[in-house]
């Protein structure tokens, strides 16, 4: 009897069988063989009644010790098998992580919109309100009020699309200046972006393009302030080292009038093909608001002065992105447009 319950033998046998078991199912069967209701340990306990009562406690202790050992052994074996099975499952589930991701295709804003937004953000930060005037204008707002009466030679500077004797497609966003000043009193800081139209159509001109007009009217505004503001604009828009240069020009609604060149960001002003070797790029027109224009809007030119500037948004976009043909901006080829994603 005593020999039948050698602890080491049973535990060793269970260990060997458990190790041979492949998978949790087989292991369970081995476990049942030893610890199940019809297992070896139960069979041993059933023999209890055959044993003399005084030996029973020590016998019981022995069997319990065996059960404990077996349970520990099986717990370890189960953990081992589970680990192995998980590893196999994970292995079988592995992905080709280099395959493409799934996503909603994204579109993009037009480069002119992007640049317009950028310009507006720069000037909005300086306190400019945004104003959008009508694209179809009458002669008064587009010309006469801007000090360009009917026989003025400056009318020839811009080839105008006429819709009737009186109505036309605005040739400049400057038209918005007058509408704004009729409604607002100084201090004025206004920015007017929008479509403009000229009957020009060649490699560098488009019959429709976008301009952005800026207007400041207040007490004590000077030409120095104009350049200071445009310097700030150039530094934000182009490069932190950008500079501006003023040179004389002519617009009927400003006096003095200037062309504003920005130092070439491509070469830093040394001269390259982009700036045609001059180190400067013509970017916008500007000037001190003509007294007549202020008078036309019932603003006293002896009390207030102002400056205005206007730039072509396409031109800025072309400079910024290196776009070489203005036509690309209205062809709407998706291969072009998709390059301007955020």
């Amino acid at each position: 009897m005593e020999e039948q319950i050698v602890q080491e033998d049973i535990v060793k046998a269970a260990q060997e069988e458990a190790e041979k078991a492949e998978g949790s199912r087989a292991l369970y069967e081995v476990k049942m063989k030893f610890l199940g209701r019809a297992g070896i340990v139960t069979a041993m306990l059933k023999k209890m009644k055959e044993i003399a009562p005084e030996e029973r406690p020590s016998f019981g202790k022995k069997v319990n010790a065996i059960r404990e050992k077996l349970e520990q052994g099986f717990a370890a074996a189960e953990a081992r098998v589970k680990q192995r099975e998980l590893a196999a499952k994970l292995e079988s589930e592995s992905l080709d992580v280099t395959m493409p991701g799934k996503r909603q295709k994204r579109g993009a804003l037009h480069p002119v919109t992007r640049v317009k937004n950028e310009l507006v953000d720069i000037f909005a930060g300086m306190g400019f309100e945004i104003f959008e005037g009508p694209e179809i204008e009458n002669d008064y707002y587009n010309f006469t009020a801007l000090n360009t009466p009917a026989d003025h030679p400056a009318r020839d500077m811009q080839d105008t699309f006429y819709l009737s004797e009186e109505y036309l497609l605005r040739t400049q966003t400057s038209a918005g200046q007058i509408r704004f000043m009729e409604e607002h009193r100084p201090p004025i800081k206004m920015l007017s972006p929008g479509r403009v139209f000229r009957s020009d159509d060649d490699a560098t001109h488009s019959p429709m393009f976008h301009q952005m007009e800026g207007l400041v009217v207040d007490k004590n505004v000077t030409l120095c302030d104009l350049q200071g503001m445009l310097d700030e604009f150039a530094r934000t828009m182009f490069s932190s080292s950008s500079k501006t240069r003023l040179r004389p020009s002519y617009f009927p609604f400003t006096e003095p009038s200037v062309e504003v060149d920005v130092s070439c960001a491509a070469c830093g002003g040394k001269g390259c093909s982009l700036c045609k070797g001059t180190g400067w790029i013509e970017v916008l027109g500007a000037g001190m608001v003509n007294r007549r224009v202020l008078e036309n809007c019932h603003i006293d030119p002896d009390e207030y002065t102002g400056f205005a500037f206007g730039m072509g948004i396409e031109r800025i976009a072309m400079l910024k992105y290196g776009i070489n043909n203005i036509k690309l901006l209205t062809e709407n080829d998706v291969r072009f447009l998709e390059q301007f994603k955020d």
């Binding site: 909603q104 994204r106 993009a108 804003l109 037009h110 919109t113 507006v120 909005a124 300086m126 306190g127 309100e129 009508p134 694209e135 179809i136 026989d151 030679p153 020839d156 500077m157 699309f161 006429y162 819709l163 009737s164 497609l169 201090p187 800081k189 479509r195 139209f197 009957s199 159509d201 019959p207 429709m208 207040d218 007490k219 004590n220 505004v221 000077t222 030409l223 120095c224 302030d225 200071g228 503001m229 310097d231 501006t244 240069r245 003023l246 004389p248 002519y250 006096e255 003095p256 001190m288 007294r291 002065t305 901006l329 209205t330 062809e331 709407n332 080829d333 998706v334 291969r335 447009l337």
Partner: protein
């Protein structure tokens, strides 16, 4: 405006290079668009003297010459020209020289001609790029034979007049006074701080009894008319110096009298005309409007029917010149002309422009008048012409002058202080500097206390206020003196996008998020687009505003809706191999109340969308729904019809009762016409109407206390029953049903012909105030109510 360097030097002692002068002109407002050195293509060509000529031993047509080129040695040169002879001086291109040849530049090298060494080449006038106007004999067939006095070995360029620069100057519209050599010279003198040497204006006036009275009937169109009588005219050829200058400006020489008028035009900017006095019928001049039906034949033998808008110079009987544009053939200067009546007048620029445009007749005169000619210059230019007549000896100026002037020629005087000027510029310009600048520009300046009384030169009609003086001062003082400041003394203002502009930007970003690229099209398109879109004759879209002067018919009407341009974008993309894509455009259409326009038209902001290649009707609809969701709009879709859309795949989009747009598949017949193989889906919505209902802000709802319950419902209905009908019926049948989403449509023989099974997932939610969750029994009740309703209204059977 072309200005030869050498001509400018007649009036100013220019001691800087042409390139330096270009910089100076640029700094004071005259951009030199092109600076050309006339002799740039003629290098290493010198004066040679032919010592001997011999026949070529092996070629009948060639002559072998020995040519003395001075310091460059004696060269043996073979030539095919037949006009060479011993003792002749000729232009000689040395080894390595360049000359002009058939429109290009040719390099000359030592070589052999039929076995005989030839060291260089003797040149014709053409090879030097010159004509008889530059040098006598330049147009003869053969080698240019130079004057005997030319120094052997000298560079040929100064000798034949090509050692010179042409400045092509952009003159701004406010400076018509600078549309001439003298005007530019004034600026050059001022910027170089040098005196201006005026051209000679003197002449001796001979007695005459002849009178040619001038009557100006339209002083507003002809503010000044100066005429002068010249007798004893002997028409000849003008001297080379004059012909060369005309040639440099692209004018051909005609005869000395005519050349003088053109020369004065170039020099002083005053167009002139010369009449043969003997053909002035009635011996007088009348300036008047043409009569209806009157006509004139101009110098170039073109006949024009006239209108009272056209100003006409007449003699006692009829037109002798189209004012400011061109003289009449009847009174032109001929070789036998003996007496001349010169005209130097100011015609109103608008009048000349309108007549010139209306008749399609232009000239150097008319383009100058269109820019503006000042009344002051008329008699000065006349004096100059008379001086030249005397200098050239081609006639005798008389004492008879007619001068009809309606313009006030009192010089304008402006009063200004340095304080005002400085307050505009933002810097302090030294007073003496400012005064000196104005004086150099021929303004007369008197100082009275703090004020400057500035008298404006009469040719500066552009200057009419003190800010003009500030500009004159700063452009000469130099814009580099401006020190950038940042509104040091101005008020602070608030800026930024308006809420409406922010919404617009968000709208675009939503569409970009849905995979759409923003397009930008012209605001005008072709009326043929309306035909392509199969719009009936009375369609409101056809009531488009026409451009009176379009670039072409294809860009001649203002858009009344955007889709046609969008469709053209799709076509262009497909043709370029972009097989799929999504585009949108947000822009104005232009809707006229009345045509022709009586008021500003309505600018109607609209959005158009296109999906092609990949995706279908519901992809496009998804984008419209995304807009609705982003701005909390309630849009509904119903079957509709548009002539340009597939009749079975067209939806009208409504917001409330109002139709706000449409969407659908492009009509297959239009797709076929445009060779589009795959369907194109288009939509267009009225952005202005949508934007009025955009949610201003987010409206927050508390989360429900109890969970919602979802039940699936599948019913079999007739094919013609729509999803929207069922969805609406479900939501109406039961208040607790908050959402009904279609998730499956199934057709089979089992379901039955002409029938379909539609499955909805219905979400039931308890009231916000409910005290307990929805019980399964309550949901069962809702469900049965819905089934009953669908069965009653649509004959729907539960599956």
């Amino acid at each position: 405006m072309i200005a030869p360097f050498s001509w400018l030097k007649d009036y100013v002692d220019i001691d800087i290079s042409a390139e330096q002068l270009q910089e100076k002109l640029f700094s004071c407002g005259f951009e030199v668009e092109e600076l050309t050195y006339l002799g740039k293509d003629v290098t290493n060509v010198v004066v040679g003297k032919i010592l001997s000529t011999e026949k070529h031993p092996d070629a009948d047509r060639l002559t072998v010459c020995k040519v003395d080129c001075g310091d460059h040695g004696v060269k043996q040169i073979c030539t095919a020209a037949t006009n060479v002879f011993a003792g002749a001086k000729v232009p000689c291109a040395l080894d390595g020289a360049t000359v002009l040849h058939e429109g290009g530049v040719q390099k000359i090298k030592n070589g052999k001609l039929r076995g005989v060494a030839s060291e260089g080449m003797m040149c014709s006038g053409e090879e030097l790029g010159i004509t008889d106007d530059y040098y006598e004999g330049a147009e003869v067939n053969g080698i240019l034979i130079l004057d005997e006095s030319e120094p052997v070995g000298a560079d040929i360029r100064p000798i034949v007049g090509i050692d010179d620069y042409l400045f092509d100057i952009a003159v701004t519209a406010n400076r018509p006074d600078c549309q001439c050599i003298l005007g530019i010279a004034r600026e050059v003198a001022a910027v170089l701080k040098k005196p201006l040497k005026l051209p000679a204006l003197t002449y001796t006036a001979a007695q005459t009894d002849v009178k040619i009275p001038v009557e100006v009937k339209e002083p507003s169109l002809c503010p000044r008319y100066v005429g002068h009588f010249v007798k004893d005219v002997k028409i000849g050829t003008s001297p080379r110096w004059m012909r060369r200058r005309l040639a440099l400006s692209g004018l051909r020489s005609v005869s000395d009298i005519v050349d003088i008028t053109n020369f004065v035009l170039l020099e002083m900017g005053q167009p002139m005309h010369a009449f043969d006095r003997n053909f002035l019928r009635g011996g007088k001049i009348v300036v008047r409007r043409a009569e209806e039906g009157e006509s004139i034949v101009t110098l170039d033998e073109k006949q024009f029917g006239l209108h009272p808008d056209n100003l006409l110079i007449c003699d006692g009987e009829g037109g002798v010149a189209l004012a400011g544009i061109m003289g009449g053939l009847n009174s032109e200067i001929k070789p036998e002309t003996k007496e001349v009546f010169f005209e130097a007048a100011k015609f109103a620029r608008d009048s000349v422009r309108k007549t010139s445009r209306a008749l399609g007749q232009r000239s150097d005169s008319s383009s100058r008048f269109e820019k503006g000619v000042d009344a002051y210059t008329c008699p000065v230019a006349m004096d100059r012409a008379l001086h030249l007549v005397e200098e050239l000896g081609c006639g005798v100026p008389t004492c008879y002058r007619a001068d009809v002037n309606a313009q006030d020629l009192t010089p304008k005087t402006l009063s200004v202080t340095m304080e005002k000027i400085d307050s505009l510029l933002g810097i302090e310009v030294p007073k003496e500097e400012a005064v000196a600048i104005l004086k150099r520009l021929f303004f007369d300046v008197k100082e009275e206390g703090d004020s400057l009384l500035v008298t404006v030169p009469l040719w500066r009609e552009d200057v009419d206020g003190w800010p003009d003086l500030a500009e004159e001062i700063i452009r000469m003082y130099g814009y580099e003196h401006i020190e950038p400041t940042f509104l040091t003394r101005a008020s602070v203002t608030h800026g930024g996008w308006t809420p409406a502009q922010q919404q617009e930007l968000k709208f675009k970003r939503v569409l970009a998020g849905e995979g759409f690229f923003e397009a930008c099209n012209y605001s005008f398109y072709s009326p043929k687009d309306f035909d392509l879109f199969r719009l009936p004759e009375d369609a409101p879209e056809r009531r488009a505003i026409r451009i009176l002067n379009p670039i072409g018919e294809d860009l001649s009407v203002m858009r009344t809706f955007l889709a046609p341009a969008m469709l053209q974008n799709v076509v262009r993309n497909v043709r370029r191999g972009n097989a799929e894509g999504r585009l949108f455009e947000l822009a104005n259409a232009y809707l006229a109340e009345e045509l022709p326009l009586k008021a500003l038209p309505k600018e109607n902001k609209r959005v158009t969308l296109a999906v092609w290649g990949e995706g279908d009707f519901f992809d496009l609809k998804g984008a419209v729904e995304a807009i609705a969701e982003s701005f909390s709009l309630r849009l509904t879709f119903e079957r509709g019809e548009k002539p340009f859309l597939h009749p079975g795949k067209t939806a009208l989009i409504r917001m409330g009762e109002r139709e706000v747009g449409w969407m659908g598949e492009l009509h297959p017949s239009i797709a076929e016409e445009l060779a589009l193989e795959k369907p194109v889906y288009l939509a267009e919505l009225d952005y202005d109407v949508l934007s009025r209902k955009f949610a201003k802000d987010i409206v927050y709802h508390n989360l429900p206390k109890f969970e919602s319950v979802q039940r699936d419902l599948a019913v079999v209905v007739d094919e013609k029953v729509t999803c929207a009908e069922l969805e609406n019926a479900i939501l109406r049948a039961c208040k607790a049903a908050k959402k009904a989403e279609l998730f499956d449509v199934y057709r089979s023989a089992q379901v039955g012909a002409g029938k379909k099974s539609m499955a909805f997932r219905i979400t039931f939610s308890p009231e916000e105030t409910a005290e307990k969750p929805l019980s399964p029994e309550a949901v069962d009740g809702f469900f049965h109510k819905i089934v009953g309703n669908l069965a009653h209204n649509f004959g729907a059977e539960l599956r």
